[in-house]
Amino acid sequence: MADVNRGNRPLSPHLTIYRPQLTSMTSIFVRLTGNALLVAMLMIVWWFVAAAAGPEAFATADGFVRSWFGDLVLFLSTWAIWYHMFGGIRHLIWDQGYMLDVEKSETAGLIMIIVSVLMTIFTAIVL
């Protein structure tokens, strides 16, 4: 019956039990990159606000953004934004009902990883 043993039933195997799969890992990383991009975006907003405030404020913000730490954040965020973007494209395709089977999802996941790395290298070289 519906009320028997409510709230004390066995849980289905959870994340820590499963063998990591390409589909789950690429999905987790889409969420991770998307939320982690907050750091870079706050840094960039600070940079713009400082540029609007004047030369002294800009020197402080620009110095931070271009320091080794700021540079590292921006480089990792470059990969994160490309990866998140290709992950988003995969979601848009999924939403239309295409590529939903495991094999095609895994192929799309591989493409996301490879293309995001290539785009990061391209961006780092161009800029």
């Binding site: 519906a2 969420r31 939320n35 975006m41 907003v45 713009f48 606000v49 540029a51 470059t78």
Partner: protein, 123 residues
Amino acid sequence: MGFMTDRKRAVGNGSAKSGTMAHWRMTLSSVGLLILIPLFIFTFGAILGHPFEEVVAYYTRPVPAAIAALTIAVGFMHFLGGVQILIEDYVQGLTRKALIVAMTCLSYGAAGLGVFAVLRIAL
């Protein structure tokens, strides 16, 4: 109580109703960002590292300024949608509400500040 079924418990409560809209908003902003993000990476990236006068002169130009302002605005709204789902997935009760309030304040605050700063430079 012993005869309550899951169906009876659900009847009359209605749906949350706003879920479809939340998903559609993320879809819309994601397509917007699909256009804006590459433009922003290569305009912002091109001027980053230049001295103050050049940065200010660059962002008085309408196209780079519009790209920056739109990316900041749409980006933070997309972030807010995403982080809210993240919070709802892992946090419950008062902490959930507090975190959503905090992230909403942060997103609108950063978006408003960023857009205002770009417009201040541009105008």
